[in-house]
Symmetry: C2
Amino acid sequence: MANIKDVAREAGVSVATVSRTFSGAQFVSPEVRERVITIAGRLGYRPNAVARSLRTENTRTLGLVIPNVMNPFFTAVARAVEDAAMERGYSLVLGNTDEDPEKEARYIDVLLQKRVNGLIVSPARATSWHLSEVERAGVPLLFLDRYVRDVDAPVVRADGSAAVDRLVEYLLKLGHERLAVISGPPETVSGGERLGAFIEGAALRGISVPEERIVIGDFRRQSGRRAMRELLELKEPPTAVFVANNLMALGALQALEETKVRIPEDISFASFDDVSWFPLVNPPVTAIAQPVEELGVAVARMLPEMAEGGERQESVVLKAELVIRGSCKRV
Amino acid sequence: MANIKDVAREAGVSVATVSRTFSGAQFVSPEVRERVITIAGRLGYRPNAVARSLRTENTRTLGLVIPNVMNPFFTAVARAVEDAAMERGYSLVLGNTDEDPEKEARYIDVLLQKRVNGLIVSPARATSWHLSEVERAGVPLLFLDRYVRDVDAPVVRADGSAAVDRLVEYLLKLGHERLAVISGPPETVSGGERLGAFIEGAALRGISVPEERIVIGDFRRQSGRRAMRELLELKEPPTAVFVANNLMALGALQALEETKVRIPEDISFASFDDVSWFPLVNPPVTAIAQPVEELGVAVARMLPEMAEGGERQESVVLKAELVIRGSCKRV
DNA sequence: TTCCTTTGTGTAATCGTTTACAGTAGGATC
DNA sequence: GATCCTACTGTAAACGATTACACAAAGGAA
């Protein structure tokens, strides 16, 4: 591809003039500008962003490291972040960790090597060495949904505890006593928080959730399905089950469908994360909705600010909300 | 952040030696190598990929330009492509065009400036100037799902015509005569193909689809909802409706839910694109399934090959398949 | 006329790597 | 003892832009 020298030679000017023509801001006479632009067009010249980045120490690139885009929650934030990035002239490079700290570390390393201007991470574990590396490298960091305790960076997330507590209250009011939970990995912030809030909420009201009715999944579909089957095979199966995210909820619903267990007649069902199709299934699924849009907007607002080295951003913690539909019934 | 010179100075060697230590391949004595690595670790040195890319003319980056990640079809391919990219040491930068040729052009321009090693595009229109630019720039290009006629690049897609034809056959066999279609933009390859196959399939069997029962949407949710409402308000509403993608299907289902029109009693319903939750709604939705996985695998296989400048890849055209569930009924 | 300012342009250093080329030291070979 | 490898290491020139600095021309002010 043609480079700045080719254009300069062809147009009979210096490379400086060509550079100025394209980076704007500086004085270039209209005639020269015109000529440079036509020549550039003819040669198919396109400024080399790599060289530009090297010189200006600015890649205009952001990194987004999440467990999995296939999770509708992360799909939505990925979309929101990408929009915001594009709008301010940044590109977004994406990484799926599958909750694997190793993979997460690899992505972060690559992104640091690529000298991204900022990093948005939803870490797999509550402690993590490679995220301190980001701090050390001085790259702006933003935690999304989850965070790492010993790293000092702003967090954008929704607090689910209150909503989970309200859900427990609701289930108990409906007369349920045999509660079950399909949890995500307790070592993740969101996994631990949801499980903790559920168990404590129940305990607080005099109901204990025995170990065999706490199944730990990995936030992915298949684990939800397995977990639900496991619960159904108990000698004393639960009368109500809470699933800790949308992907596992999908799996659990499939298991229920396959085993012909009816909701809510045979079992009451509720999920963390609301998704677009929950109102459409039969019965419509009661769920805890995270303010996905608002989270995306918050990230969008903070990120460029950080990338441009503005002042330290404050964390944003929004509230998740219980949306009652038809999947829970009085026992 | 520390650079190669800092490490070289601190370790008492030349930059060449440091470079060789990190890029492997070359001879570096074990003691020196060891020393360089510890020093680098101490200084938090991380090779600058920008500089490396400039020198080697290789960014190890791929661009993926799609209409919208929120469309489950594209979410799945994005995931598959990202996996394949990561596995071979490439990063993926993502762009959502919202079916807007302007936005598409902007993304492509940025990605070319960034000197990506390859580009996967699902173009908004069947003709497009900026995609010829990619060709001219000599950047490996792969079309996904849709393509541009006058640009010579391999395509990975599923042909839906046969499946749509089978759907029409099925609907007519059930006795439907008042067919309707909620189509995507006919100027996209997939939009045109699905609409065309539907109308021709009906015509071939002696049924015509009048203009008022052909509503053109934009492949997005809201347009599906609007379109369905429009169809329901006809003096002669359809007895069966075919929606041309999953997002519009979601919208249409919402409209049906809101207006309390029952499926399949009041109207038969079928959609292009199968999604994970279609089996779970009431009744389970009859749909045409694209082999998403296989498409992803095909892209994954071809892409690195292209990026590394291997031989020209052949197009891959798979078949979509009609999955009959419970949303269509005999009139 | 002289001097200053404004506008436009060029020269060359720089960003952080890779890599061709050259050189050195030590051991093996003749 | 001369010669030739082999294994390592260093020097310096790229890669393609940006930008500080210098300078020239033109116009206005004194």
